[in-house]
Assembly symmetry: C2
Homo-oligomer: 386 residues x 2
């Protein structure tokens, strides 16, 4: 029986993880859960899964939640609580489904404690990839990517040597705004952006997908997961989202991973790795999937992708800065306080101001993240809003 | 330096193999060549590659050839000569590019001698897969498939466990007659059949591709290469020939291998395995490749595919019988002595008469092959010709 900690259990990845666990009775035991502010769902999950530990964001929520759970379940809160869940001594594998930079510390904590991590939180690697990967190598912790693209790459690289990679091709659906003009994009609303054509995901990732910042973050994530330089990581638009990514090898051969657009597939892959276990989900039908199309991304209309490459080239704290500014701008866009192109404007401003921030330690990275957030808030408030 | 024997060196696979070797100076040394009746090309190859041994089909050709080569090169002939080349003590890897059932004995001889085999001759596994695979397992010889489809599957299965395969999907271009009616097919000529839309191959394989018998032979080949039952091997038409085949795993994930339609890619893969070395061929361009389409095969218009499944289900000598009858019928079709639908008619007749022939030894298989050839000749002569 594999013992799991689920960080972000009430979110999209967390609930899908619990679905997968429920479909495979007797295979997994959940020892710790961490949720945010959705106390009802967290309480329900805790009663069903009876973990030893539950972490919530807020101290006041912790005591409210404790009153609703059996006394055998310990409830903790805040960043310390989250890190405690990530390090839970009984866990074999930590599923990190947290959204945003809040995932950095617990992901580092999990690999520091030698835990394998099923990682859906791309921001942890974007901001602190150098630290997390080095720590994982030192402790022997494995990072199993859950993001469908990196999960696809992980599958394509089984039995292969990463030094024989010529190019990693990250596929991008192109999001809901593929083919839109710059003028139309300037007036795009969060409601339009949330209508993703192929994937059901949380709101932050869905907006990132609409700006292509998601793909930019994935480029940075791939750089750390697979140890490949930015020049070898490219993006290709594939509107059907059937091919989840490809690896081109030095000998001219490409391998691709394909399948349904259901996050429970990559989650199950990470949970049962290195085994593959029968899925209870519907089978994929290649003939019914229709023609598979591929096109170059439009960097003019979607500047965030290039900004991510720029941040990766700048190195140091720059990716953390770009990521933090993006989080602030996406939140503003979602609540109608910013326009579509305010998102790249905020990232650009934060990079201009903080790309050179110290980046010698994980704390430096967290400081750069905070600085970038404040700059993004200031820039958005100063009325770049379109 | 890897030492090679090339069987069928003057054919399509053989000359492509020599191209690959020439593109990687210092990596390979050719110790033996075996050709058929193209003495000029064989002499030229032997002078350039200076192997220790050259085998030709005919004894009279052998003495003619010996007179044109340095005395250090020994020339042998006939089936014994071919088997001697296949067992050459200095070879690390035997490239088997022979066409047809003539490949059975030397392929068996090579694995019997513990040689790794880069196998492009599908008929050897079709007719004698059980014997060849068992012998390879006993001696530790590896069979590295060169056929683009099986080479693709081999790549997709790196780092995977074959017991976690749900379905092997062999892609078929559909050949030059995809979408033709039965009436049109009944009148199809060899000249039309030889215009393959995506691959440049020898005439036998090209006709097999037009009848879908090629895909049927590949189903049988896959059964032996990967130890997967016929029920788990399926065919999907993919007119672009970009996806060279796919593996669907039990967890619902699919892996595909993609690339240019140039046999030098799978040949190089087999020659340098397990390494991948940089290719001197043009890179593949996914965007330029255009939409990738997939469709179910038309078993009505192309009965050979089902006949191959039938032969595999019958087991024993049946696949050898079907293969032998097909070879005879294809030769007749190529020389305008038989029509398109005489090919399945000859296979069906041979299966009806000889499917139950003894199959306890490799000699039994070779006997069944001979019986089936005679039956096919008789059936074609008796005027089923359309």
């Amino acid at each position: 029986m594999k013992r799991l900690t689920i960080l972000g259990s009430t979110g999209s990845i967390g609930t899908s993880t619990i679905d997968v666990i429920a479909s495979r009775p007797g295979e997994f035991r959940v020892v710790a859960l961490a949720g945010g502010r959705n106390l009802d769902r967290l309480a329900e999950q805790a009663r069903a899964l009876t973990p030893e530990l539950v972490a919530v964001a807020d101290a006041a929520d912790a005591s409210r939640l404790a009153g609703r759970l059996p006394a055998t379940i310990r409830v903790v809160s805040g960043r310390d609580g989250l890190v405690e869940a990530a390090r839970h001594p009984d866990a074999d594998l930590v599923v990190c489904g947290l959204v945003g930079a809040v995932g950095i510390e617990p992901t580092f904590a999990a690999v520091d404690a030698g835990k394998d991590v099923a990682l859906a939180n791309k921001e942890a690697l974007v901001a602190a990839g150098a630290f997390i990967v080095a720590r994982a190598q030192a402790t022997g912790a494995r990072i199993l990517p859950v993001d469908s693209e990196h999960n696809a790459l992980h599958q394509c690289l089984r039995g292969e040597s990463t030094d024989q990679i010529k190019t990693i091709w990250l596929t991008a659906s192109g999001g809901p705004f593929r083919g839109w003009t710059k003028d139309a994009l300037a007036a795009a609303t969060p409601e339009q952006a949330l209508k993703h054509p192929t994937w059901v995901m949380g709101p932050k990732v869905t907006i990132d997908s609409a700006t292509l910042m998601n793909k930019g973050l994935e480029v940075i994530e791939a750089r750390w997961l697979f140890g490949v330089s930015a020049a070898r990581i490219r993006v290709v638009v594939h509107p059907e989202s059937i091919v989840h990514s490809l690896v081109e090898f030095v000998d001219g051969s490409l391998k691709a991973q394909l399948g349904r657009t259901d996050m429970r597939h990559p989650i199950q892959y990470a949970l049962t790795y290195p085994d593959r276990r029968p899925s209870t989900l519907p089978a994929f039908d290649l003939v019914a999937a229709g023609p598979l199309r591929f096109a170059a991304p439009d960097l003019e209309c979607f500047p965030c992708l290039q900004l991510a490459y720029d941040a990766l080239a700048l190195g140091g704290a720059a990716p953390a800065v770009a990521n933090a500014a993006n989080e602030v701008a996406v939140a503003a866009f979602l609540s109608h306080r910013a326009g579509f192109y305010d998102i790249p404007a905020a990232i650009r401003a934060a990079l201009n101001r903080h790309a050179g921030a110290p980046a010698a330690t994980l704390d430096d990275i967290l400081d750069a993240d905070r600085l970038a957030r404040q700059t993004a808030i200031d820039v958005l408030a100063s009325g770049v809003q379109s």
